[in-house]
Point group: C2
Chain length 214, copies 2
């Protein structure tokens, strides 16, 4: 009764189960951490949301903090990928416009991840401080150089690139982090048309504000 041979390139059955369960737990954790914060979230709540016994969570993630760390890293990587939208064009209106579009789309598709990030940063970034000092700082400096080049070419007005980036982050993520407040004032969740309008307004006001469009 030997084990049947297995293609080493294909993940083992055990690995498959692990990946599937980790993804299940991470999705549940993202939702619970977003709804309750780190302190307010309980492993029991996450387990219930994932439909697993609480002990299984500790089998896949040693501690509550490990699980939380993975959730925060996830949204950060999604934003980094979207940041490439800024390189789609030499035209600042198109490049920056595409970045705003991408960030707004993520606010709609991943509001929970955005909230967990906001929670983490608001509380001093105890878990991802090193990301801020390395990856995010490098990325930011690169974009600042790019915006400064546009200014030097006279394609946008001489604004402070750093604060433009902050304004883009603030406005786009506001639609995720403060989505409940916006929905309340809107008397209901935003429709497709509402999101289209929000995206257009943010793009238009910011791009006109820096002189990228008339």
């Amino acid at each position: 009764m030997n084990e049947s041979p297995r293609d080493p390139a294909r993940p083992s059955r055990r690995t498959e189960i692990r990946q599937a369960n980790e993804a299940l737990i991470l999705a549940a954790a993202e939702k619970v951490f977003a709804e309750a914060g780190f302190g307010g979230a309980t492993m029991q709540l996450i387990a219930d949301m994932a439909g697993l016994p609480k002990a299984n969570l500790h089998y896949y993630f040693a501690t509550k903090e490990d699980l939380y760390r993975r959730v925060v890293q996830n949204i950060f990587e999604i934003w980094l990928e979207a940041a490439e939208a800024m390189d789609t064009s030499d035209d600042p209106a198109l490049g920056i416009g595409a970045y705003i579009e991408a960030k707004m789309a993520i606010s709609r598709s991943h509001p929970d991840g955005s909230k967990v990030w906001a929670y983490e940063v608001m509380h001093g970034a105890p878990v991802i401080q090193d990301y801020l000092e390395t990856t995010l700082r490098d990325w930011t400096n690169g974009r600042i150089a790019r915006i400064e080049a546009w200014i030097a070419e006279g394609r946008i007005r001489p604004i402070a690139p750093r604060h433009l980036l902050y304004m883009i982050w603030a406005t786009t993520q506001h639609y995720a982090d403060f989505g409940h407040q916006i929905a309340t004032l809107n008397r209901g969740p935003l429709s497709d048309a509402d999101w289209r309008q929000a995206t257009d307004e943010v793009k238009t006001i910011l791009l006109r504000g820096i002189g990228a469009i008339p």
Copy 2:
């Protein structure tokens, strides 16, 4: 041995002690709730920060939730008072500019209150939902009408007033809520000059974005 007569208009000694201790506890609670969220905060931490025994907190505030509610209401009232800055002028550049100035000043002076508000809204506003549906909604609708009048007069471009308000809230509060991220990228806390520049950039880009200034 009768008690000495007391001027009824002046608060009693007991009332004075109560008010002083409540203020002390509220200040400590604002800081701890901002740093740890509602769930992450503990009455012990707040007591230590206030320099009082834990039992005294329960003497002044029946429950942890009562204490939290008071902290959230405080920042909301501060913002409402500052909102009057928008009525300083019939000129949209001056009126909206003054509102942005006031909001930025509060982000600097009350960053913890802003964070607690963000925490509360991000988690579905379980405590101040009624404020959103009454006071904030009324205030918002009033400002929308005012901005629409400016549009009708041709003094600003035909943007969506609601989303302009969201952008003002998002950008100004970002400097409080994400202050840690900004300080990290800035390699240190913002100086007076940094705050002046941030305020000017936000004002300029938003006001130019809506056509209130050339």
